[in-house]
């Protein structure tokens, strides 16, 4: 049986080489774009972080904060890998900074015995990965000793809606592409069925089941889809390597040693599985309507 299907598919490729190759090219292009979207999507947050200004997070501390509470907050910040340059700003430093900004108008303020320093002490840090920020903030706010947390809220909201928009647009495009791919697979199958009408009829007459007749088409579709996904990933990785070797990521993406991550193994495996499934399912949809046992006679009458 395996032998039979191998022969059948080999014959398809031998007899319709150009049609099969064309289909493969289109599917490869589809999956290149597909995996390209996936690549950009998973690198989006680090790209945007690099392109936008560095965002600073400031945790304002209560005046009556205890030593161990302060160190607890500090350790949360230090254990977060997406934060850098964590530093403590005391009440006095905060006022000094304030005075620096205000100029010399209030230079006597600190020495004034009547002055009760209204500025809180704080912890500051630089954010390198926006997508992690909302979770971090919600983790910090309930800690004892924290008065308030401030960060580039507006920017983050824009960032979130931008990523959402990007995801939606790419999902739409990908569905469109896959729809086109389905149409192409359908056409190829229609073509091979017309070419093989006589053969299919004879197979029916000698007792082939519907599945037996359909399976070679489905297997060939799965093969095309799988190879399309393989080539898509290969083309993308070629582009990735080329881009890395010729210009280096830092040149394009502006300093700061940004690293683009290639698709993860899981993403690649998912893509290949999707290609396989897409090809098989597409073929199944296209071939479903053919062959009903009596069709041998119905094709003639």
């Amino acid at each position: 049986m395996i032998f039979w299907f191998n022969q059948y598919i080999l014959r398809t490729w031998k007899e319709h080489t150009s049609l099969q190759l064309m289909t493969l090219v289109v599917l490869s292009a589809t999956f290149t774009i597909f995996s390209g979207f996936l690549f950009i999507r998973s690198n989006l947050s680090s790209l945007l972080t690099q392109w936008g200004d560095q965002v600073q997070i400031t945790i304002f501390l209560k005046d009556e904060i205890k030593k161990d509470e302060l160190s607890a907050i500090k350790s949360v910040l230090l254990e977060t890998p997406t934060l850098t340059k964590t530093k403590y700003v005391s009440k006095v430093e905060a006022t000094q900074n304030f005075i620096k900004q205000m100029g010399h108008y209030s230079s006597q303020l600190l020495t004034d015995p009547e002055f009760a320093n209204p500025l809180p002490a704080s912890l500051e840090a630089q954010v390198t990965q926006y997508s992690e920020l909302p979770r971090l903030v919600s983790q910090l706010i309930p800690l004892p000793g924290v008065e308030d947390v401030s960060y580039g809220q507006g920017w983050i909201e824009n960032y979130t809606s931008f990523t959402q928009l990007f995801s939606q647009i790419s999902l739409g495009l990908i569905l469109l592409l896959l729809g086109g791919g389905l149409l192409i697979i359908g056409n190829v199958i229609q073509h091979s069925i017309i070419q093989r009408r006589e053969e299919i009829e004879v197979l029916e007459l000698v007792g082939a089941t519907r599945l037996f007749i359909q399976l070679p088409f489905i297997i060939n579709g799965a093969l095309l889809g799988f190879l399309g996904a393989v080539f898509g990933v290969l083309i993308l990785s070629g582009l990735y390597l080329w881009q890395q070797s010729t210009m280096g990521t830092t040149l394009i993406f502006g300093g700061a040693g940004i690293k683009l991550q290639f698709l993860s193994l899981l993403e690649i495996v998912t893509l290949l599985a999707l290609g396989l499934w897409f090809g098989a399912f597409g073929s199944f949809l296209c071939i479903r309507k053919f062959n009903h046992g009596w069709s041998a006679s119905e094709a003639h009458s």
């Binding site: 014959r11 053969e199 004879v202 197979l203 007459l205 007792g207 519907r210 046992g293 006679s297």
Partner: protein, 220 residues
């Protein structure tokens, strides 16, 4: 084994190809169907191989009621019969071996069994030396013998042959008929359409005569 009851077949254009045909063939019988060209022999065989449906009446073959057979039972039914079509219906782009192997391939038999059964049959029809030829490289008579080999290779319980000696000279005809005799001797029901009266006369068999779609005589 085969039973027709008041069967009619009307083609498009009101051509009545079969008219009130009632016929019973028992298991293991050897029956000739004869009549002039256009009498309805091929039509009768088409109905009995579930290639086409009758217009009215009842047809039962090998315990399958062909009026009510479900689509997914049709392959099972067709595996229990072997048919030699008048126009052979060989696949042009497969060699002789592959053509004869088809009924076994669709049943997913092992390559080993396919190899031995197909070789045996090609030997019996005298085409072993040409097993790698393509149908277009064979004469009409040789193609006919390929069609016969394909109808027998899966050892069906009923063999139907539509003019299986139509393209053969009398020596080859006799050989092919001997082959059908052997199959019949193993208990297979054999039903052969022919207008070769010479062939019918050489052996004492049941002969069903058909004309203009009606059974004229049925003599054992």
């Amino acid at each position: 084994m085969i039973s027709f009851l008041h069967t009619y077949k009307v083609y498009q254009g009101n051509v009545i190809a079969l008219r009130d045909v009632s016929l019973q063939v028992d298991k293991g019988e050897f029956v000739y169907l004869t009549g002039p060209s256009g009498a309805g022999k091929t039509t009768l065989f088409r109905l009995l191989s579930a290639y086409d449906r009758c217009s009215s009446g009842q047809i039962t073959v090998a315990n399958y009621n062909l009026n009510k057979i479900k689509p997914h039972d049709i392959p099972k039914f067709r595996r229990s019969i072997g048919v030699v079509y008048q126009d052979f219906r060989l696949l042009k782009d497969r060699n002789i071996f592959a053509n004869v192997a088809l009924p076994l391939q669709v049943q997913s038999e092992s390559q080993h069994l396919i190899q031995s059964r197909v070789s045996t049959l090609l030997e019996q029809v005298g085409l072993m030396a040409k097993s790698h030829f393509y149908p277009s490289q064979l004469s009409g008579g040789e193609q006919q013998r390929v069609a016969i080999a394909r109808a027998l290779v899966h050892q069906p319980s009923i063999v139907i042959a539509d003019e299986p000696t139509g393209n053969l000279d009398s020596d080859l005809s006799r050989e092919i008929m001997n082959l059908f005799d052997q199959v019949s001797a193993q208990g297979t029901t054999v039903f052969i359409a022919t207008h070769d009266q010479e062939l019918i006369r050489t052996k004492a068999r049941r002969v069903v005569r058909i004309q203009s779609g009606s059974i004229l005589r049925d003599e054992k």
